[in-house]
Amino acid sequence: MTDTVPRIVGTRELNRLVVRFAGDSGDGMQLTGDRFTSASALFGNDLATLPEFPAEIRAPQGTLAGVSAFQVQVSDHDITTPGDAPNVLVAMNPAALRKELMHLEFGGTVIVNQDAFVERNLTKAGYDADPLDDGSLDNYTLFKVPMTTITKEVCKDLGVKPRDAERSKNFFALGLLSWLYSRPAQPTLDWISAKFKRQQMIADANTAAFKAGMAFGETAELFDFTYEVKPAALAPGTYTNVNGNTALSWGLVAASQQAKVPLFLGSYPITPASDILHELSQRKNFGVRTLQAEDEIAAVCAALGASFGGHLGITTTSGPGIALKGETIGLAVSLELPLLVINIQRGGPSTGLPTKTESADLMQAMYGRHGESPVPIVAAYSPSQCFFAAIEAARIALKYRTPVILLSDGYLANGSEPWLLPDVSTLPDLTVEFATGPNHTKDDGTEVFWPYLRDPETKARPWAVPGTPGLTHRIGGIEKEDGTGNINYEADNHGYMVKLREERVAHIANDIPPTMLDGDTGDADLLVLGWGSTWGAITSAVMRARAEGRKVAHAHVTHLNPLPRDLGDIVRRYPKVLVPEMNLGQFCRIIRAEFLVDAQSVCKVEGIPFTAAELHSHINGVLDD
């Protein structure tokens, strides 16, 4: 820091900015990215995030395996993805630079913590020579900043131990980036003092580091310009920044409130679903009961037991947990009780890529049970939309007395975006009616209760909860007679019940919204058909193709079983159908089987979402084919 008089620096306006923060797992990069995001959200930008962290909690320090990254796109207009290639890479150590540089746009900006580029770290990252000096970064704009040194320096008089002071260097980086991109400082300063209110010294160190980062930008004569991304012209209203797991948890609470049925969550911790258990465990004042069960089987069984008792039974997990729950979901199909089974998908099979995203459990949701065991499936498509997807899944479960599978994934779960908060008075009324008295008169005139006598419209059986006088009955997984619910092993009866259960689910198609069709370009040459978290990338890619004059339509399916009634017409309307998926073409196979169209699959199963650029080029490829 050579002088203390603020320099005059010009400000340039950007329409959008993609920053990628990368460092060692212990460097606090997720937090840094999250704070940069929050400040941008409060500033009024539209944004989308992509956190990426290693599966190991603390991989060996300084190694490639230990690199944790957080990408965020902020913009002055509506966006749907965390961006293709970052414009800026913040690398806290050599491993982060080596691992993440490939993502950076050509000519992009690299900001490194120069202090970390010492021989030991370079060796750990696999560098033979120091990349800061050997010319290998000549195609980028490189800023070498001694982040650790300055942070230690400014913390010197605060009484913090040097080791602890060093840990504040991520706030230095945040301060520098906040200055460079004109992010408001106050939200971060407020957050620090709230978060560390019981650890004053840490609060002071982080504050000092953050301010030093801002001051460094202003005074160091490295940067000729600051940049600004103006607020986005979003629809008017109140916004909050939300990730998918939080929105989903809140949607579950909302469903319980709207149904006036208490929420019961049975869950066993698993990445990336655990945060729903954490969030709901804090909602006890909403009457939410949570059980951290001994395993996934117990978790879903407890949820089903609670449903029998008149609660909205919910279980949350990821793919491996769903595999364990299969038998119980089958029981729920047979018992015809409401049950919500939520799968936050991750890379498989087996432990696979537990912290990475994938959407390869669709066939498991459709068919991953024994016997003919149809289950409605709802899929969320953006972080904030997880809220509504949760309500919709609960609505179907409660109204039709059936287990419902709700699919989200790691990308939606951890990714965040600004959310225009809904007016809670506009949420659907999910009130359920419990059985209160006999529903059948026997030939001899006696009034009795038949547990499998159905509502003619919904084909749902009565929900008669223990404690209700006059309705005592037994249910079980053995095949039963319709109406009475008595055990029945007859061949004809089984055939009848199998078809009935299939029809019960198929019938729900009458009660789901039509397919989401973005800009019904009836004369489009290509339909891009998606489901789940590919929505953001498809939306951006289609917009880019249209901007080039291409005629492309985008349909997005939220109800995967049963499919919307209009979907057949839609997929037959266009000469070409392209189905991007983060699996090997599972939905595409369903579309081909159901509608006999020559849909083409484009797959990415690499643990990271499609970028809009990738899909854009696929779209052009298919159109030029």
Binding site: T238, T240, V253, N285, V288, E294, I297, G309, G476
Partner: protein, 338 residues
């Protein structure tokens, strides 16, 4: 609360045809339960029987109460959710030795550990009945069955030891030949707040006939069953000539009262916090061919899980008021766009 109507055994008997093999011990257990229910001062509609799969697990169909016949091994988990959702209900769990100690062993352990207010009845016939006679986790070593033609080679579980080891707060044992004793044990299980575990020696007359005959036949009981009575010295035998002491090594041991003197006998204390004496009693017999204690091994009250969970809910509502969805959605930083 209005009075519970007077009922008879018939009121608790469902209209379903009972489908156990003629002569099966499950019949007498069913009768004992159906005869007990009118004495418990509870309503049929507040009573739920939950089971897994197996012969024993057919039990709920025969009770004129609410019931759920679940899946193999998972009854304690199903019942945990029900009991948490509806703590005011009387929830019974019924299953066999395979159901609750093999496939569902883990759920049993955790239901006991959590102390969920369930009355868990384990019908131990030392065999897989429903699947036609394979050995079970309680079968004795050397058991020859269709799946173990050369004899089983694995050590059996002692269900009472397992329960005590799983932190169970109420543990009892009874047998299907003594209706009154069964009724007494089931009543105690019902009255106990928390998880109650009752092992019932049950004869499978088709696949493991007479497994307990050496100790439960009428003429054997006096010499082979050791009644545990709270506050009483543990004695048994035709003329109460035998007793139980804790030997210097800390194990329970059968002795001749005349040899040691009455005052040396172990006085049974079912309320003793430390489970080691109850455990020692559970190890007294190596199987149903040696004198075996029956009765309540342990009844130590501690906080019940569903009740504690409800208390946390009530406390949260007291502290933060009833949930307000609008406020929840606005609980993180928000900003306005106009």
């Amino acid at each position: 609360m209005t009075d519970v109507p007077t009922t008879t055994k018939a009121d608790w008997t469902s209209d379903q045809e009972v489908r156990w093999c003629p002569g099966c011990g499950d019949y007498s257990i069913l009768t004992a339960v159906q005869m007990l229910m009118p004495e418990l001062n509870v309503r049929r509609e507040d009573t739920v029987f939950v089971s897994g799969i197996g012969c024993a697990a057919r039990f709920p169909y025969y009770m004129n109460t609410y019931g759920m016949h679940g899946i193999h091994g998972r009854a304690p988990a199903l019942a945990t959710g029900l009991a948490m959702a509806r703590p005011e209900l009387h929830v019974w769990v019924v299953g066999g030795d395979g159901d609750m100690l093999s496939i569902g062993g883990n759920h049993l352990l955790h239901a006991l550990r959590r102390n969920v207010n369930l009355n868990i009845l384990l019908f131990n016939n030392q065999i897989y009945g429903l699947t036609k006679g394979q050995y079970s986790p309680t079968s004795e070593i050397g058991k020859v069955t269709k799946s173990t033609p050369a004899g089983s080679i694995d050590e059996p579980f002692n269900p009472v030891s397992v329960a005590i080891g799983a932190e169970a707060s109420f543990v009892a044992r009874t047998h299907d030949m003594d209706r009154q004793h069964m009724m007494d044990m089931f009543r105690r299980a019902h009255d106990f707040p928390g998880a109650s575990f009752v092992e019932v020696f049950q004869n499978c007359n088709v696949f493991n006939d007479g497994a307990f005959g050496a100790i439960t036949k009428k003429d054997k009981r006096a010499s082979m069953l050791i009644p545990l009575e709270h506050g009483q010295p543990i004695r048994f035998g035709e003329n109460d000539e035998n007793g139980v002491v804790i030997n210097p090594q800390g194990s329970a041991e059968v002795v001749n009262v005349a040899d040691v003197g009455e005052s040396a006998l172990l006085v049974h204390d079912e309320t003793r916090q430390d489970p080691s004496l109850a455990f020692a009693l559970s190890r007294l017999s190596a199987g149903p061919f040696e004198p075996t204690p029956i009765g309540v091994y342990r009844a130590v009250e501690r906080s019940e899980y569903a009740g504690e969970a409800s208390k946390q809910l009530a406390l949260a509502q007291e502290q933060s008021g009833p949930g307000d969805l609008e406020a929840l959605l606005h609980s993180r930083p928000t900003w306005e766009v106009s």
